[in-house]
């Protein structure tokens, strides 16, 4: 249920308490050479009226006489530092507002770190994901951050989610469904198979990060099911993977391969990015019946739902 608040001249807005939805281990710290600027969208101030050309700017909603930017002092560059764990020697991709800005490789212990410099002050959405040696992407770990000129923001403790796949699209009831992927090496991997009821099992990732669990489908009902996993290491917990669907039936069927299995990859280049967005935008404006691989929810039209699904699977 959604309730709307109409606000006129009301400066108090109820904010949610800060929490990290994807992982409990991430920390964000910051140092600044000058005075931190106020982010826009905070909603705690009322915009100025007129002001002869003053006002707002990057600081949004500040009074017309206040500055909109903070000048860097002490020569500190505007930097965002990222660090965390992926899988051993896995490719780690960092996106800035949906565009790939850094591609790096985790070390043999799965640790990665990277830095972005020279950013202009403002709102950014950074996303981090990794790709395993089979080409599967982890879910993106995203954080919208306000970056102040001259500040160094450190985003650390990122534990990237495992990858996950199954070996059969349809599995004969009673046969095993192999559930596999990559995770932080030597971490415990909790696997959830759920439909009407949830079945929880666990395994351990090897030193390469690979994990495998042969799930006995005997207790599952006929029909569709989903498998998801997350990794646990000491007191650190990763985000959960996307659900991977499979069907319990009377026969075994292999999974489709290629880009047919990759949601949002409209042009089959193993990426979901601006090109796919452009194709979707073209059909959105053109109208009519879109191609099946563009109409992501198969409802015969392109609308905000399809764009949302595309944005969810975005790889940059």
């Amino acid at each position: 249920m959604v309730i709307i608040v109409a606000v006129l001249l009301v400066r108090t807005i109820v904010h949610a308490t800060i929490h990290v939805t994807t992982s409990s281990n991430v920390f964000i710290t910051a140092q600044v050479g000058g005075t931190p600027a106020t982010p826009p969208g905070g909603g705690t101030t009322t915009p100025p009226a007129g002001g002869g050309g003053g006002g707002g700017g990057g600081a949004g909603g500040s009074s017309s006489s206040s500055s909109s930017t903070t000048t860097a002092t002490n020569g500190m560059p505007t930097t965002v530092n990222f660090s965390g764990m992926g899988y051993p020697s896995s490719k780690v991709v960092i996106l800035q507002d949906g565009a790939t800005v850094i591609t790096t490789t985790a070390d043999p212990n799965a640790n990665f770190s990277a830095s972005l410099t020279g950013l202009v002050q403002g709102n950014y959405t950074f996303s981090v994901y990794t790709t395993d040696q089979d080409g599967h992407h982890s879910v993106s770990f995203s954080f919208p951050v306000y970056v102040t000129t001259g500040a160094a923001v450190n985003i650390g403790g990122i534990i990237l989610a495992p990858t996950i796949d199954v070996d059969k699209a349809e599995v004969k009831r009673g046969d095993n469904e192999a559930i596999f992927g990559f995770a932080v090496p030597n971490s415990k991997v909790n696997i959830s198979v759920h439909s009407d009821s949830e079945h929880l099992v666990s395994t351990t990732a090897g030193p390469t990060g690979a994990y495998l669990y042969n799930f006995d489908t005997t207790p599952l009902e006929y029909g569709g099911h989903n498998a998801q996993s997350r990794s646990l290491m000491d007191d650190k917990v990763s985000a959960q993977t996307d659900p991977v669907p499979f069907v319990v039936s009377t026969e075994n069927k292999a999974k489709p391969t290629g880009c047919a299995a990759s949601v949002g990859d409209i042009n089959c280049d193993n990426k979901v990015n601006l090109v796919d967005f452009s194709v979707m935008a073209f059909w959105y404006k053109k109208g009519g019946t879109p191609p099946a691989n563009v109409d992501l929810n198969n409802d015969g039209k392109i609308n905000i739902v399809d764009f949302s699904i595309l944005a969810y699977h975005w790889t940059g």
Partner: protein
């Protein structure tokens, strides 16, 4: 006057009664307390996600056209990453839609992490047209959850009013901005995009005043204001493409895309140089080997 004041108070205080309830998402309008005729001002449209991640927004903002004139929309401070429909005025409404790859569950201010901040959707600049009561309201704003299914949530309409007083002196609102936008572009051929013809796709981002417009000069053709994706006139790709992105403050970023033939000939030249160098090296080794044998 007293009656107007009490009406005003009711409008202000009534919405407070719904605070404190469990609100998954909420639209908020940040408007000034009062404005004079011929005075420019901005209104921020904000969505408070209450910690629930969203990755798409669409809707409209309507305004009282008898008391307000729309000046422009600014997107520099918006949390929307890619616009499906750039904010554009139609009659007395500004419509928009866009997505946030990765999702948005609240903006983190690294220097004050006590709370995440709401998403700024768009900043609308208006000017007071005539004395009276100005009204601004959101209409049919929907958000999509970051759940991989595109679950749509319709937000209730919200509105705000404020007085337009008689003019003291005209004023103009400008967002300080001295930094050029960032622009990236590529040319793609995809069977689902203009039947596989050469199409220019691009993104232009400006973190201060926001992108105003993007122009393309294709060879000797006239300059055109374009949107992405753009079907190129010259499908042979023999023309130089000059792409310019202007922000609201007038700063410009430019990308030049060389003709395909020029790119091809450059590649050929590089290959020829490499082959020549290899031949020279082999000859040099042979000559040296022969000298050593003698």
């Amino acid at each position: 006057m007293k009656k107007l004041f009490y009406t005003f108070l009711i409008i202000v205080l009534l919405p407070l009664s719904v605070f404190g309830k469990d609100i998954p998402h909420a639209t908020v309008i940040h408007a000034p307390q009062s404005v004079a005729q011929q005075q420019q001002f901005y209104v921020d449209i904000v969505v408070d996600t209450k910690g629930v991640s969203i990755n798409g927004v669409q809707g409209a903002v309507t305004f009282s056209s008898d008391t307000l004139s729309f000046v422009r929309a600014e997107t520099g401070t918006s949390n929307i990453t890619l616009w499906i429909d750039q904010p554009v005025v139609k009659g007395n409404s500004v419509i928009f839609s866009g997505i946030i790859p990765g999702g948005f569950d609240g903006l983190i201010n690294p220097f004050d992490q006590s709370a995440k901040l709401p998403a700024e959707i768009v900043r609308l600049v208006f000017v007071g047209k005539s004395a009276g009561v100005a009204a601004i309201s959101t209409t049919n704003i929907t958000v999509t959850d970051t759940d991989g299914k595109g679950t749509v949530e319709k937000l209730s309409d919200t509105s705000t009013t404020f007085p337009i007083t008689t003019s003291v002196a005209p004023s103009v609102y400008t967002t300080p901005d001295t930094i050029a936008p960032t622009l990236s572009a590529s040319i793609v051929n995809d069977k689902n995009l203009y039947d596989g013809h050469a199409v220019l796709v691009f993104t232009a981002i400006d973190k201060e005043s926001g992108i105003d417009h993007v122009t393309l000069q294709e060879g000797d053709n006239d300059l055109s204001t374009i949107e992405s994706p753009y079907l190129l006139h010259d499908q042979s790709r023999k023309s130089i493409l000059l792409l310019h992105a202007y922000d609201v403050a007038g700063n410009v970023a430019t990308i030049t895309i060389a003709p395909l033939s020029s790119q091809t000939s450059t590649t050929v030249i590089v290959i020829l140089i490499l082959i020549t160098l290899i031949i020279l090296y082999v000859n040099y080794k042979k000559t040296r080997h022969n000298k050593n044998s003698v």
